[in-house]
């Protein structure tokens, strides 16, 4: 119920921001649409902590600036590599360990890896990621494990805060095999 309400408020805020017209008819349409979406999601039973990771909380706002800094730095590094005439790339496929315990945490980590140019997640298998790295520097940055630590830090706090049993990494492995 709490989740439904949070989702409704979020959807309504998005509606109001995107529409830009504030008269009774259009706002009524907005309310109807948002109620419809929330009802549909409740009916499909997909309104869980995965659909609405509100429990990540404020730690997310500490992680995002760091991630943006990393993205900018690796953008410059990869741009330099592309513009160097000799093209000094060293493509490798690495298996690295993801120490996050929840699915949301692993998704956040995998997406952060992919968002950073120079590294891209190929697959997730039983708590390990298969990652393609473009240069030696990007591979080293990945192996230093700082991003892993930061995502895990954000998530550990969240799990305590929420107090629910997280999905295990093995569960994620099963899912990826099934898909």
């Amino acid at each position: 119920m709490k989740r439904s309400f949070v989702l409704f408020v979020t959807l309504m805020a998005v509606w109001l921001l995107l529409s830009g017209h504030y008269n009774a008819t259009l706002i009524a349409y907005g309310v109807l649409s948002c109620v419809g979406v929330v009802a549909l999601m409740a009916h499909l039973e997909i309104l869980d902590h995965e659909a609405l990771p509100a429990h990540l909380g404020f730690r997310l706002f500490l992680y995002i600036p760091w991630l943006l800094k990393e993205v900018v730095l690796s953008n410059f590094a990869v741009a330099k590599v592309i513009l160097t005439p000799s093209l000094p790339i060293h493509p490798r496929i690495l298996r690295i360990k993801a120490s996050q315990k929840t699915q949301v945490g692993q998704v956040a980590y995998a997406n952060s890896i992919t968002l950073t140019p120079g590294t891209v997640t190929l697959d997730v298998r039983n708590g390990h990621f298969i990652v393609h790295a473009l240069t030696l520097d990007s591979a080293e940055g990945l192996l230093s494990g700082e991003m892993d630590r930061r995502v895990a830090h954000m998530e550990v706090h969240a799990a305590i805060h929420e107090g629910h049993a997280p999905d295990t990494a093995a569960d994620i492995g099963n899912r990826s095999e099934r898909s």
């Binding site: 741009a79 592309i82 496929i93 952060s112 968002l115 140019p117 891209v120 997640t121 298969i130 473009l134």
Partner: protein
Amino acid sequence: MMEVGREIGVWILLVAGSVFCVIGGIGMIRLPDFYTRSHAASITDTLGATLILLGLALYSGFNLITVKLFFVLFLLYITSPTAAHALVKAAYSKGLDAPDLEDVTEIGGATSSSADSATLRPDAKGVN
């Protein structure tokens, strides 16, 4: 004075954004295989798009347009890694030519396990 500063800021952001986009495009042509090219695409999707949209946001000042610009940016940041991952995962699981899988525990200590990669990718090669 304020206006001139803003004008210069818009110029710098938009030109830098276009430069990064073009660099990504050049990488798309220059890099040798599919997996490396996906990194070039991620340059244009992250910094190129961010700088251009930030430039537009600075130009428009703070109003509903800015909110929409940040919405586009947020959407790009969510969808672009998802799309990139879906694509490379499809390519990898179909066995598109790739470097061997390495099990690395620390920097420099690379131990390539060829047996493992053979079992993980039974149908390597032969995809067009």
